[in-house]
Amino acid sequence: MSSNAKERMLKRAAADIVPGMTVNLGIGLPTEVLQHVEPGVPVCLHSENGIAGVGPVLSPDKADRNLIDAGGAYVSAIPGTAFFDSAVSFAIVRSGRLDLSLLGAFEVAANGDLANWKIPGKFSPGMGGAIELAQKARRVGVIMMHTDRKGNPKILDRCTLPLTARGHVNRIYTDMAVFDITAEGLQLREIALGSDLTELRAATGAPFHVPDQDLPRF
C-alpha cells in the first residue's frame, strides 16, 4: 500500500468526525485519524483511562508524567478537559455517550462482527477496553489495511477469530474502499482512487452490494 493510499484512508475516516461528537480513537491507525480532522471542528476525544477532552501529544521533555492516554502516549489537557476514574470512563462508553468509536481489526465480518483482541496460540495480551468500545459506541467504525501482510482478506463472511463484539460494526474504512454494514449486508459506498471493483472483489472475503450509481472516489 502506498503511503498515499493510507493518507487518503485516514482523511476519509476523519471526514466522518463531525462537530459535536464525543469520539474514542483506538491505538494505531485510529489515533492517526486525528491529524486529519479539521482544526476548527469542535469534538471531544475520550480516553479509557479517564480523560474527556484529550489534547495534543507532547514530546517527553514537555510531558506530564501523570498524563497519558490509553495507548501510553503523553498527551495534554485543553481548555475544558476533565479527568475521572475508570468506572466513570466506561460509564461514558456503556451508556452510549460515545458518538463514534474507531477501532483497528484483525477481521471484520459482513454481519458486523469484529475480532481484534486475540489470535489463539499467538497473541492474547487481553482485551483492554475494546469489547465495550466495540459494543456500546453509537457508531462503530473499523479502520484497517484491506488485507493482511500476506495479502489475505480481513473482511470476511464470518470471523474465524474470537469475537470482540457481535454485529456492532457500522462502517469499514480501508485503503481500498469504504463499506457500510446494514441489515441488508455489506454495502460498498466508496472506492479508493487507483482501486477497481475486480481488484476489490478479489481482496474481500465476503460478497458485497455495489450501488447502481457511480461510486464516489477518495
Binding site: 469542535p42 469534538v43 474527556a52 477532552g53 489534547g55 489537557a77 475544558g80 476533565a82 466506561f90 451508556s95
Partner: protein, 230 residues
C-alpha cells in the same frame, strides 16, 4: 482542539419534555434542587409525568409545585415526610408513589448511568422491600435483583458549569445530581455560574460534560434557593 458548546435557553431546553415523560430531579432537600428548571416545567405544563427525586421537597417549593399543578402521575422517591401535599395525594390515590431505599435509589440510577441492566444486593432481604424482586444466587449467597432506573430527562442543578457542560457542585448540593445526569436520555443543567472553558481545573470537575446535553445559566437566584428560616 476545541470542545462542543452546549449552552441553550431554559424555554427551549424544557420544551422537549412532553406529556408522559419520566423526569429525574436532582437535590436532597433544597441543596441541589433545580428550582428554576422545575418552575419552567410548571409554566410549560406537560402532564402525566413520572418524577424521580430523592424527596418531595417541602410545601410551596420544587416538587410541590408540580404536585399542586397536577402534573405528576407517579413519584419514585425514598422519603416524602416533609411534604404534606405528597402524602395527601398518595393517600387519596391522586399519585402513585414507589418508595426505594435511598442508597438503592442512588445505585439504580448510577447503574443506569453506567449503561448496565441491574445489580444484585442483599439490602432488604427478608423485609417487605423484597416484594416482587427476583432472588439471585451469587457465589453461593442470595441477593435481590434491582433494576437500572433510567429517565427521559434529568434536570440538574450545578454550582459552576462551562460551555461544554463540565460541572462542579457545592457542598451537599451534589447528592443525586451527577448520578441523574448520567442516567437520562437528555440531561439539562441549570448553573449558578457559567465559567470559561478551562476555569474548572480538569481535576476539580465533578462531572464531565460528556454526560450533558444542554446548559442553562441562571439569572439572580430566587429566594427559594436560600436558607430555610424555621
Amino acid at each position: 482542539m476545541t470542545l462542543p458548546d452546549k449552552r441553550g435557553t431554559i424555554e427551549e431546553a424544557i420544551s422537549a419534555i412532553g406529556d408522559g415523560a419520566s423526569v429525574m430531579l436532582g437535590g436532597f432537600g433544597v441543596p441541589g434542587t433545580p428550582f428554576c428548571l422545575i418552575r419552567e416545567l410548571v409554566r410549560q405544563g406537560p402532564r402525566n409525568l413520572t418524577v424521580i427525586k430523592n424527596d418531595a421537597n417541602e410545601a410551596g417549593m420544587g416538587v410541590d409545585w408540580l404536585l399542586e399543578n397536577g402534573q405528576v402521575a407517579r413519584l419514585v422517591t425514598s422519603h416524602i415526610g416533609l411534604n404534606p401535599t405528597a402524602i395527601r395525594m398518595m393517600n387519596e390515590g391522586a399519585i402513585e408513589v414507589e418508595f426505594v431505599p435511598q442508597g438503592i435509589l442512588a445505585e439504580r440510577i448510577r447503574i443506569a448511568g453506567a449503561g448496565m441492566m441491574g445489580f444484585v444486593t442483599d439490602i432488604g432481604l427478608g423485609t417487605p422491600i423484597e416484594e416482587g424482586k427476583p432472588r439471585i444466587a451469587v457465589d453461593g449467597r442470595t441477593g435481590l435483583l434491582e433494576t437500572a432506573l433510567r429517565a427521559d430527562f434529568a434536570l440538574i442543578h450545578a454550582d459552576s458549569a462551562d460551555s461544554f457542560g463540565n460541572l462542579s457542585f457545592s457542598a451537599s448540593a451534589r447528592n443525586f445530581n451527577p448520578l441523574m445526569a448520567m442516567a437520562a436520555r437528555k440531561t439539562i443543567v441549570e448553573a449558578e455560574r457559567m465559567v470559561p472553558l478551562g476555569a474548572l481545573l480538569p481535576e476539580h470537575v465533578h462531572l464531565s460534560g460528556t454526560f450533558i446535553d444542554i446548559v442553562v445559566e441562571l439569572p439572580e437566584l430566587p429566594e427559594v434557593y436560600g436558607v430555610i428560616q424555621r
